[in-house]
Symmetry: C2
Subunit: 305 residues, 2 copies
């Protein structure tokens, strides 16, 4: 089952050198989430063949323009293409007014239902849950109310080992095996111990999106041990003071968070327009956390099962 992050934009506040502002498509087991909507996100989705008709939830970290200005164009396009399925938008307060004002002046009523969810500030909350995964917010430290998002698969069932499975088991017994139960007869006597017929479950994968944020160790506990962390890295070391003033992070700070949280892989993004090539940011991060990569538009990051 899929668990894939597609980078649609990884520029900072200003688009530069062909880089687009923040946006990502997160696909987990055929659920599609759009995380931030920098300007031109609809063109980026078309370019990288992201199936925007299947997006059910749009998560906006905060209301700086480089994180949401592409939303309205996408909504108008969905409307012109006669989308009918509901769309959930999660954002800090204000975005509903921004959107409804624009629909009002275009004299259009969207062809689909938009359901706004206002994020709480400074607290973790589960904003999405189904049988396979949860999404919770990560409180970030920025100039505006700002939240990251943590995607986490729920614990998975044990896998039945078909090579040793006896014939004739009932559906209920197979379901019990997946839940970790033994196979018993009608009197409760164990016929097969669970571990003789099943394999360990596939691992539950996880991904955290943390942009924009100042260096913030408070997030470490929440993201401990996750598979993939996207953390903003607006500046290089020589701009650490600037990072502090603007409540952004350096690449080294992002790597420090990744190391403290013992994540598997770190993805750097939200590069300042001062860097034509973000490679030096990567080079400052790697000594602190070796499994680091740059977020490059169009690249897909798949977390294997």
């Amino acid at each position: 089952m899929s668990f894939k992050v597609t980078i649609l934009g990884s520029s900072g506040a200003l688009p530069a050198y062909g880089r687009h502002p923040s946006a990502q498509l997160v696909e987990i087991q055929n659920r599609y989430f759009l995380v931030d909507c920098g300007e031109a996100v609809q063109m980026q989705l078309m370019k990288f063949q992201g199936n925007y008709h299947r997006i059910g939830h749009i998560l906006i970290s905060h209301l700086h323009g480089d994180h949401y200005l592409g939303l309205m164009g996408l909504l108008f396009t969905m409307h012109l293409q006669r989308r009918t399925n509901d769309l959930h938008i999660h954002s800090h307060r204000g975005l509903d007014e921004i959107i409804t004002t624009q629909f009002k002046y275009s004299q259009s009523v969207p062809s689909f239902k938009i359901i706004f969810h206002t994020l709480k500030n400074d607290v973790r909350e589960v904003i999405y849950e189904d049988d396979a995964l949860t999404v919770e917010t990560i409180p970030l430290v920025h100039k505006l109310r700002c939240s990251g998002f943590l995607f986490r698969e729920k614990p998975k069932p044990r896998r039945i080992d078909k090579s040793v499975l006896p014939e004739g088991l009932l559906i209920q017994q197979l379901a019990g095996l997946k839940r970790g139960e033994d196979v018993c007869d009608e009197f409760g006597n164990v016929l097969y111990k669970n571990e003789t017929l099943t394999l360990t479950p596939r691992k539950s994968r996880s991904y955290a999106y943390c942009s924009d944020t100042a260096y913030n160790e408070q997030m470490v506990e929440q993201i401990r041990g996750i598979d993939l962390l996207y953390h903003e890295a607006t500046f290089a070391n020589d701009e650490e003071q600037k990072a502090k003033e603007t409540k952004h992070s350096t690449a080294a700070q992002a790597a420090t968070i990744a190391s403290l949280a013992n994540v598997h892989q770190l993805l750097l993004g939200h590069f300042s327009a001062r860097y034509k090539d973000p490679q030096p940011l990567l080079e400052e991060a790697i000594p602190l956390f070796s499994n680091t990569r740059l977020a490059i538009e169009g690249e897909e990051h798949t977390i294997p099962e």
Copy 2:
């Protein structure tokens, strides 16, 4: 002196095949006007080296998203880059609310003064005038209040023919010659007839932007004889009924307007996403008006003096 139209986007409502929505940079004698602001206009300005810091006036034809959604990103960028000179925005009512709502939720106060001007509906009006040119609105027929824009240089002074100019004329006499006056002595006797020392003025150039609009012969009188007409051509002939329903034009209808108005050149744009290649639209226009071209992103159309 320059008179140049740079195409930044010529797609219709949906961006498609790499084409961006409507936007143009119009430069006349070092005045810079941005006409419509389709999504990603700031990236297009950067790509085609349009000097957006020098833009003094932004003209928005109407409040369908494909004509204004790039404005906010451009304004935020100007703000982040600490623009100080005033910016005039001309639009039908609503855009001021859309912009101020977004500045409010980003908790920023623009670094420069934004002066909103609300366009009148269904009447021509001069919205810009200085010593060299005027800009007036062209009432268009569309689903929303919608205006085109007519840029027209004012009549130019006669040019002094230096090859025959006698020595010793006063500055006031030279200025009089440019205004078409004869050179007289202190008693009012004509020393030199104007036409013996001057050449005809350079022509006053003109450009009209007409998008979006249904076929509308009422505009013909206003744009008669202009040098360059940009007219929307959303559809081909076989979609004439669709054009009528959606209050757009076919390429042939655009060519008919150009022919009736006897303009010098026609530029087609606002191509529907159904056309991967807009060449067939050009082929339907040319039999009706031969001097027709397609509006292609990045191309500059200069009207010579």
